[in-house]
Point group: C2
């Protein structure tokens, strides 16, 4: 095994924080109930001549190590990333890259172009009055210049901002995708993360249901690539225009529409009584509340047409989408479900969300048409449609279904000099192989046994041993790690 | 040309911000001196019955549009991303992806594994007392839970944190890379960005100069892949141990070492008098100041050995590196230059930076050995070495040298139904082609002329026209866009 391993294995690290007040420090620590503390060992080079320290495993106790010479305070710091955030080890990163590669490949198949925006955005882009969860959990703050900024909770407003900025230089339709990190800040819930990565696909400039069909098809292609079938996942589809038709039927003012949508989205999350009360409190009549609740339970076109009539735009849009589904070949994935409303204020038409048929997980992805976002931002109406697809729920689902791929670090060659004096030749060989496109791990100062284990772990193809006698003949010893065959190979024939 | 273009082309967007105080709004706007404002045009569907508006091109004036019904204030908002940040249009994104792909490919050749960390980190990781620029420009703030957090200014401390957290589960050496966004906040300078992406490569657990050699070789491989030669770019190399030897010669206490390095790094950026004064103010004697300045001007081994003797560790390390450079084949890229110190407090040994030989740009990348960072964080000493390579200066250099690649959106097929009734067949064809791995842009409701122009712009290979008469024979019309040849092709022979 490895002769060299990490010597210092504290689960905590300690560094100097001379300028942080005790108050903010303590309040920060009081939110980490399962912290442990350990004693810091000073390296001899650190310029402290003496120190006191206290150790405790109790909560809310901060370890201070006072340096008597300069009064600096040393403080134990968690080696964990900030609460609600993740590190990506090589293994985590391989999984993330694999998922993103699938997002990118589907985007390529549909001829979407990649774009990106700052993770730090102006808060103003996300201030909406509809009471959405997303705007109530903004990770926002004031920067040193007094600007209200936010770690973006979603990507669509930035996309709309850029399209308005680019203006006439753009030719519609646009088919754009983004893979980016989104943030939220919520105080109460434990175990939920504050960041996730989201794949967004948006089509700007197409008012026909074609846009929705392409987007749902993209999500289906992604599922298929990951090995997920229509018996694992379904996509519920509705249109906010259906809800709008109900509001019109009861003569409810148009300006209540968004608020009603945001309230109704909480169905199946909070008790129905509360939904009714919330609807009444914003000014919806009791009769209309009952009409809304009734229509939300519908799951078929005949029922829907019986209540709304067959001439409604929302119903026609949905029927069109189901026709498209036949042509694209994703009929078995989608189902009509009027209770799908989605939580974002700006959706105006068809909305959809993918769910696991076992009913264990939150929505896998969700999207819809948002034809009024541009006018809300001060531009003219521009038809637009998109979805967001997070990296968290899909990974949970793949885990549940045993579909996570087995991804390991891949290396072509390991170059290992058998003698310290051969570091020059080893450098030459590694450099030549790499310049020829081969990935080479150059290893020194290990035992041969370690090198073999390492080669196996990283799935190397060849082990190239640089020994003195072979080198003097212009040769190296090469072991093919799949066939286990060994032979001496001329340097110039290696690549 | 396109019949549908973005109709709303304001350079400003307007949205509702009911809860933001006038004070923070005004102070935020006063920092954007070149803003323009335009009148918002309401779309008819927006639920406002009447509004007042004012227009002004003057600075510091915020446009308010008062809605008389509910008293909400509409406010003009810049369509620009937050100050100092970037949007990535498809074109920008192609360039970024190309650069990152080169970073990743070089990392693969050297058998590095990718890792990542949160862009939001604990401030404590970056609190250092040496007066570095990087710690004086922290983009830091207090979150809603009272935690001091920061948009990371660099990646190395997070890497050290994760390695300490992982502890014994890791087997050294580690060869890790990251491509991530880093942030700084500085009030004064105009035209400098507040974020950039940085490629980091780090080797943990190798104390030999092999680590430095591999890292510099990686940077050189990257340059070569981009078409940059050793006559465009050089890499200056020194070791902080040389400076340390000078300090020892003058019996300057060890604890001043980091401060001296950070001051000396400002050479060529501020007048030499100021450097001398700063050194004296931290407690360096006038004699030692002269000794330091003298050694910093050295550019050859004989000069260096004449002053320090040939037995110094710093000199031996550097000589070793130059031997390695011969074997790896990058001798022509590197040169000894003792004035290179680098600005990060934690470097302890060899330091290096790549520069353009025309002397127009800032450092292209920089790195060095940081053997004490782990002990500074509360662990035992762990040998470590790495570099950071930003995305900004390299792009400037490639632009200057005419080496920017010509990257365009690439699509295999365009499918275009000639008749609205053929949207179903068009869907079927597009879906089948995509399931076969071809990227397909499905276009509708455009004139054929637009489609041809579009095909040219995106470099499509084939144009597939779905017409009624061909479709009834199970065929489509296919135009090969490179040969200009047209023919009818059976549907089943398309893929």
């Amino acid at each position: 095994m490895s002769a060299v391993v990490v010597q210092c294995l504290h689960h905590l690290l300690i560094c100097r924080r001379p300028h942080i007040s005790a108050i903010s420090t303590l309040s920060s620590h009081s939110l980490h109930p399962r912290r442990n503390f350990c004693t810091r060992r000073f390296a001899s080079s650190v310029p402290f001549h003496s120190h006191k320290h206290s150790t405790s495993t109790q909560d809310n106790i901060v370890q201070h190590i006072t340096n008597e010479n300069d009064g600096e305070v040393m403080e134990a710091i968690d080696t964990n990333p900030p609460r609600g955030t993740r590190d990506f080890t090589p293994e985590d990163m391989r999984l993330r890259s694999w998922l993103f590669q699938n997002f990118r490949e589907v985007s390529r198949l549909l001829s979407f172009e990649e774009v990106d925006f700052p993770v730090l955005e102006s808060e103003a882009l996300f201030i909406r009055k509809a009471g959405e969860e997303i705007t109530q959990q903004l990770y926002n703050f004031e920067d040193k210049g007094g600007r209200r900024v936010v770690l973006r909770p979603e990507i669509t407003p930035s996309l709309a901002r850029l399209i308005m900025k680019q203006g006439k230089s753009l030719s519609l339709p646009l088919k754009w995708y983004t893979i980016g990190q989104c943030w939220r800040y919520e105080r109460m819930t434990r175990g939920r993360r504050r960041e996730h990565y989201q794949w967004n696909m948006d089509i700007i400039g197409i008012s026909k249901v074609r846009a929705e069909a392409e987007l749902i098809y993209a999500a289906v292609l992604l599922f298929e690539r990951l090995g997920i079938t229509a018996s694992d996942v379904g996509i519920r589809v509705s249109s906010r225009k259906v809800l709008q038709a109900v509001l019109e039927k009861y003569s409810i003012p148009q300006h209540l529409f968004t608020k009603v949508c945001v309230i109704v989205d909480k169905l199946n999350k909070i008790p129905i009584d509360e939904i009714q009360n919330e609807l009444i409190s914003v000014g919806v009549s009791l009769g209309a509340v009952k009409g809304i609740i009734e229509v939300l339970s519908l799951k078929s076109f005949p029922e829907l047409e019986a209540i709304l009539g067959s001439d409604k735009e929302g119903v026609a849009d949905l029927k069109k989408l189901f026709f498209f589904a036949e042509d694209y070949g994703f009929s078995q994935w989608i189902q009509l479900d009027v209770s799908v409303v989605r939580g974002l204020a700006y959706y105006t038409g068809i909305v959809f969300e993918a769910f696991d048929r076992d009913g264990k997980l939150r929505a896998i992805c969700g999207g819809g048409r948002y034809d009024k976002l541009f006018s809300m931002f001060g531009g003219d109406d521009t038809p637009a449609c998109g979805f967001g697809f997070g990296d968290a729920v899909i990974i949970e689902l793949l885990k549940d279904k045993g579909l996570l791929p087995n991804l390991s670090h891949k290396v072509d060659d390991i170059v290992f000099p058998l003698d310290g004096e051969l570091e020059g030749p080893a450098s030459r060989i590694a450099s030549a192989l790499r310049r020829n496109g081969r990935s080479v791990d150059l290893i020194e100062d290990k035992r041969l046994k370690w090198v073999f284990k390492h080669a196996e772990r990283i799935g190397a193809n060849r082990l190239i041993l640089v020994g003195n006698s072979e080198w003097q003949q212009g040769m190296v010893r090469v072991k093919d790690l799949s066939t286990r065959e060994e032979s001496n190979v001329k340097i110039e024939e290696l690549c």
